[in-house]
Amino acid sequence: MIFKKNIQQLRLTDRELADGISNAGQSVDVVISESRSGAPTLQVNNTYIHSSYDPVKEAKEWLKNNEQYIHGADNIVVFGFGLGFHLNELCTSTQKQITVFEPNLHVLKAAFQSQDLEAVLSRIKIITDVSAPYFEDDTAVLTLQSSLKLTPEYFDQVLLKLKARDILASGLRIMVVGPVYGGSLEVAKYCSSSLINMGHTVELVDNSRFDDTLFYIREITSNKNHYDALVEKFTALLSEFILARCEEFQPDIVINLAQAPVTTDCIERIKHYGVKTAYWFVEDFRFMEYWKQVAGSVDHFFTIQKDDFFEEMKQSGLDNYHYLPMAAYPQVHRPVDLSEEEKKYYGSEISFVGAGYYNRKHFFNGFIDHDLKIWGTDWDMHSKLAGFIQRSGSRVDTDEIVRIYNASRININLHSSTYHKGVNPFGDFVNPRTFEIMSCGGFQLVDRRSGLDGLFEEGEEVVIFNDQNDLRQKIQHYREHPEEAKRISEKGRNRVLRDHTYEKRMQEMLEVIVADDYEPACWADNRELVQDLITEADAETEVGRYLSQFNEHEHIALSDIIEKISNEDGDLSRTESIFMMMNEFKG
């Protein structure tokens, strides 16, 4: 009876956890017994979690000993649920926001079975994984000490995450280094914009301005030795540019995207300043082997593949790798209202957007009896598919891709393969298109990839096909059940917005970096406290008022002011002119 009541109460705020607790079996290691005071008490693995004499008195003492921390905080985090005696006392004593971390569903089940927790559950949020929420204000971390030793690694991980969030909350200076060309160019821009949205000061090193030069090198010689030597020198030059920008911008962290033109020497020199370096290898490690040069040189190496790749990196003696799948950027990948004309132009019953890889050329031959539109480059205009390839296989920009995803009744997403005739049975990473279609609210049928496990719930948020026949059947099914497709699209979009945005990825990446003994970079400190500068200038003066717009930053340098002025349109004010002049003299 108590259990049902508690579960009903939890279901109001966290249905998933309520189901999890309901479905958790009984564990022989979790034992409830009666304490000498008559209240229940709990033993886990033969160790008492609460007093076997008087757990209520014990909880009151716990509260008394933690009062000073509770008093000074805006939010309270508690490690360990136990049977909830301490939480009951806590909820009675404060109205502050309370978050409880408890990974053991058996312990939660025991508590739900033995205690009336209705009042507690209406006040607290329970977290069972390491997805620590972000707290804007001061947070006190209180512990039910006896619970900690049951899963010490879990609580260590949560604690590191909470500490990392504290550091990140103050905003960091982050340099994002993009490639000269390629798919990760857009990713670099999304990362950079996301980091700005998250409150960090960001410099995007956009190397795409050098793409002409790189392509020109390709044209200049057919001799491989010459070509390799020129590319090496070109990369070294761009690395020097990056280093020069780095010294100007003075970042705390440098994030390199796949194909960024950074040499290992450049990375070493950046690290020399105490700057943390990361690399997001958004590539297939089986085809792009340059990870072997770069992975060991950066502090943290992020990948879109895990199992086999991790094994290979482990074999290579690396231990700095982390799984970080692709994502969507909802400000760009979003539902859009299309005109009738646009719906007609971009829409079709089934569509595919992407380059004409070997497997795709074969695979889509099986769908020429459908209302099919293929968008993208590198398709054979002399093949059976020619009539389906839009605009003769010319390039489609992001804005148009978003319209296609919105206009198509079914978006086919077939990951590329250069040696399979259809679905790659060993495919593991999940491409950006998977997230982007969903973020647009489009309906998608995607080929099976091991990496999809854990990212989306199959059949609820995403529909997966195994081969050509399976896809044909699924197309037929969803053609006949559009409302089902709509429901899945909505759920998929919600999941992307919740878990798979670039902001989420950047947060995760920064938390990993900062949790690893993070120390600020040791640049010669030429930044000053904004408040000091305002006081010095007098807050009521023109300069004081101008500087007050930097209040959200703790420290600034002249370069920050110049950067802001340079990014704005219109005539310079008198104060801005003075700062520009100061910058000239400094130069």
Partner: protein, 142 residues
């Protein structure tokens, strides 16, 4: 045996008992206080330093136990001055408690250990101090 006669015949033993009872009472009270202080750190911290401090206290407790046994032997000459046996050694409850504490320490069950200290050991030590007080009062008459 006549008590008064024994007291007269064993003046050295009597003096030794007299000298040590006061000290023992003080030590027992002090230990009761120290153990009581350990209860909350045990429940709240479970840290290495709490563990080390506690180990030292338990070592001191063992010393006290040995002393009480000696005292008991000495008092046998005087038929215990008519007092009931001391609370710690009387019915083996002290020994059973120490064994339980030992088991809790070995299994790192700090909550159980804190319970044993709070609800068993501390009251027992206070009773022992009371008993030593009564003994001291009787000895003052000799």
């Amino acid at each position: 045996m006549n008590e008064t006669k024994v007291v007269t015949e064993q003046p050295e033993i009597l003096q030794a008992i007299k000298n040590s009872v006061g000290d023992a009472r003080h030590v027992v009270k002090e230990l009761a206080e120290v153990f009581t202080e350990r209860i909350q750190p045990l429940r709240l911290e479970e840290s290495e330093s709490v563990f080390n401090d506690l180990t030292q206290n338990i070592y001191d407790l063992q010393g006290l136990m040995e002393f009480i046994m000696e005292l008991k032997n000495g008092m046998n000459y005087f038929e215990g001055f008519g007092l009931p046996a001391d609370p710690i050694t009387s019915d083996g409850s002290g020994l059973a408690l120490f064994n339980e504490m030992h088991t809790s320490m070995e299994s790192k069950d700090w909550v159980m250990l804190a319970d044993l200290i709070e609800y068993e050991l501390s009251p027992l030590l206070l009773k022992e101090a009371e008993w030593l007080g009564e003994l001291n009062d009787i000895l003052m008459e000799y």
